[in-house]
Symmetry: C3
Subunit: 379 residues, 3 copies
């Protein structure tokens, strides 16, 4: 939305009323809950026998409703916009999303809402994940993967004009763009929420959120964890965003394990140091594996090497996660990967319960369900 692309939080009175019926700005009557994000654990889907068109969640009144904070989420533009409390609140909603059953009232939370997936470059995986999230909540989708045909490349229309047109057709826009900063420009123009589904080498904030959520879900905590980032640390925006978000937690230690040509850049290292996060570089994957709670593997991206195929081949084969690495890992630790993978994780790792990468992909669905809910109908 044009008003702001960041987050606001405001203190609410103790013993806040659990449920308010408000007139929404977008000419539809909807139900909002001004409740503490800490009380979200008590939300339960209503009985299937009482169909309610508007989103409806039964609230079991907890004995002690703690002091509440209401966040307003206008847009999702970059990982940096989220503070620790907001992440925690989003993750609680995400957890609720995991439990929504087919044809339950929860599955109709976004009935009547229309999401436009405005993709200036194709990304089938990300698009399907968002579209599934919207439809799992009863919403509808307008799809385009050739949005460039809309745009300056074709006829010279500005992104701003395109956004002004598409916002007339939909209630929320999920945008993928080839230019860094495009999502911010769209949000500055639009009167409806924008979600950045990746803008060029810039941000891919929903990937960052699902990564942190997966760590919390798998390990049970974020404070005090040890995370090994492995592979292409120079070019992967995923590991850069993850390092950034992990710095918000206490007593985190990060290991960087990468071929020399694709080492983590100094900006992130300096940032971590300034935030008091311990980090070290290592060339010994086995030792890091034995120390970590999370081993986050990434793909060496061939396209970054241009004609230096020999460098690519050398980098690519250096740090493979296989059965031997699994043996070195702790019992409770997990292997993560943003996918797609090539051979940087051996296929026979898949059957180990510590292989978390397909669960991680599924968490992407739940994170996106939570964000769509938060942006369209609020907490």
């Amino acid at each position: 939305m044009a008003a702001s692309s960041s987050l606001f939080s405001s203190m609410m009175p103790k013993e806040a009323p659990a449920l308010n019926i408000l007139k929404q700005s977008k000419d539809s009557l909807c139900c909002h809950w001004n409740i503490s994000y800490k009380s979200l654990d008590h939300l339960k889907p209503m009985s299937q026998r009482n169909p309610i068109h508007c989103q409806a969640l039964k609230i079991e009144h907890p004995s002690s409703l703690s002091v509440g904070q209401k966040f307003q989420l206008d847009d999702v533009i970059e990982a940096q916009q989220f503070d620790r409390d907001t992440l925690s609140a989003i993750f609680q909603v995400t957890r609720e999303m995991e439990n929504i059953e087919k044809n339950s009232p929860g599955s109709q939370l976004l009935k009547g809402y229309l999401m436009a997936t405005l993709f200036y470059e194709p990304s089938t995986r990300t698009r399907l994940s968002f579209e599934s999230a919207m439809k799992r909540l009863g919403g509808e989708v307008l799809t385009t993967e050739n949005a460039r045909e809309f745009s300056s490349a074709a006829k010279g229309e500005t992104l701003e004009d395109t956004i002004r047109t598409v916002e007339g057709y939909s209630d929320i826009i999920v945008m993928r763009h080839f230019e860094s900063g495009a999502a911010r420009r769209a949000a500055a123009t639009a009167g409806i929420p924008i979600i950045n589904a990746g803008d060029g080498p810039g941000q891919h904030p929903t990937q960052a959120l699902l990564d942190v959520y997966t760590i919390e879900r798998e390990i049970g905590k974020l404070d005090g964890i040890k995370v090994g980032l492995v592979g292409d640390l120079a070019n992967g925006r995923t590991v850069r965003s993850l390092a950034y978000l992990l710095a918000k937690y206490n007593d985190v230690k990060i290991y960087f394990v990468s071929p020399d040509v694709v080492k983590m850049k100094d900006d992130i290292k300096s940032y971590l140091t300034s935030m008091g996060v311990e980090w070290e570089e290592s060339a010994d994957l086995m030792e890091v594996a034995s120390e970590c709670d999370v081993l986050y593997q990434t793909r060496i991206q061939k396209e970054r090497f241009g004609e230096r195929i020999d460098q690519y081949e050398e980098a690519r084969g250096k740090f493979i996660i296989n059965k031997d690495v699994l043996k070195a890992m702790k019992k409770h630790a997990v292997v993560m990967h943003p996918l797609p993978r090539l051979d940087e994780i051996a296929v026979d790792v898949d059957s180990d319960p510590r292989a978390a990468y397909f669960r991680q992909a599924k968490n992407g669905l739940y994170i996106r369900m939570a964000l769509l809910k938060l942006l369209l109908v609020g907490w």
Copy 2:
């Protein structure tokens, strides 16, 4: 539909019953209203507490139900098929569409209906507008933007065979084609309604309808208005269709303001003269701006100039609508544009309330909702 691609009207008895339940031809039970289009103002969405699967609108019985006319709309093929009364009736339904609220019964008018967007050339903007219209009314969509893969180009299938197949899958076909006359051929074959979403250099009737609707909505009338058509008047089917439709109203005056190389062609001028419409050509945009109710700007289409880039550049910069033109315009007048725009309207015009082009784009949604409703479930 095969039966006819034009409009029929039939006189109905006075005090016609407001609501009939009829067995539809397409094996589904639906509700039809044989009511005067003049009574449509009295249609109100029902209370949200009475969910009805079939389309249902509560009719407040007016004290004097005027004599009714029932139009039957079978297909939308060309702007010429609409007479003044039909336009007026369509615009009344369109106005109703503006007021349909999320999750109201009106938003379920087309529940159970399936629209196929059969696009032989991509036009994301038009496609999204139609798909949004269908989904805003509770209908569903089958999408294809690569319909050529269906067709003669690929394997030699005729358009007629394709239509016979697709009509088996859907209840209405919205078709975009690269050949003039393709929509008429489709309508002659199909047993379900066809909407022409543009066929080559031929027709784009829903654009023409939304333009006229926007003028009525913004200015409050169509009789007695003065309209300046600016820009590429030779190649733009938009302005040609608009001139054609404006001729159906009384005391209209049209100004043509265009670079010499893209002047309005003689066929339209002769038609206007024969219909008693006053028109003049002018090279003075400021003077025209000061006279008009509507300034309809269009894009100079580079692709029409081929290698004559110098002619294009000259034509392109000649008639720009900017703050100075705004100053010359009347207080109640508006600027329209079919979009996308390049720089023929300066960006700082956007914030003026008289900049109507994004409202115009939004009206496209409402017009298409109205047409889908009329074609699928009648008045």
Copy 3:
């Protein structure tokens, strides 16, 4: 599903309970019927006045409920997986699908279910047919026609990894692939049902099913019929699958009518002989036409001839179905074609009631509705 890609049948006790409520494996409560497929004729859609979110069919208790068999359909991979009893059961469900009315409870059978159409090569016709089937039953669809962008071609991801990701977003995957055997690999990986919508030169089982269904629907029986297969019998997987399935019925006779360069291959001929099916080759289309119940015409596929254009032209013009052939045919016989057609059936044949090919295409919709229902919610 990973468990099995074939069919199981198990004897059930007489007087089996007609309706069980079971907890589905995929965290949703659904209704299953353990009923004899022979009792499916008694299923009737419920009154529209009792909306039930879960699939619900009213069962009129027949006086004699015959001994039941319950089939479990996990995936649809190849025509060979279906035995005669299963075909009969599927066709009975298909017949029910023909009668589902708009906005009836039957039209909501798959409400809450999500189908992914994962097409590694575009096939608009097949895709729209599946998507229409899913939406006609109240289900939702995630679409991709550029699934190669997911895959090894682009970044080296295996089909198995792609399936593991997409199954996290959907409840069933309809897959089209360029490699023979791809559907079987997908089914071996997936925990959700897979439908093969064509894998390279391999299988296209839903086409085979709709062909057999159409014959039964048009002729009234499958035992004792005479079928003429005409055109490209060497390359058409359609006619090969059809010959295979017809061998399951009694007293079938098959005529092969094809240009010399595209004759039926020996493997099918040997198979038919081994199954006791009478067959003969003929070059006399008129005589075959006078004998047959079904004349199944196919397109000569130009792309199979490479540079031998002269051979193509000769083959193409050899066996055309026109008015003269119609005259030779029996009154009750029909002409079928998998579509698209070029000129191997003259256009003036279309108006003859024996021209069954567009009804055949429509049957594809009903067969796919039946399969989606059977795979997602059972008999």
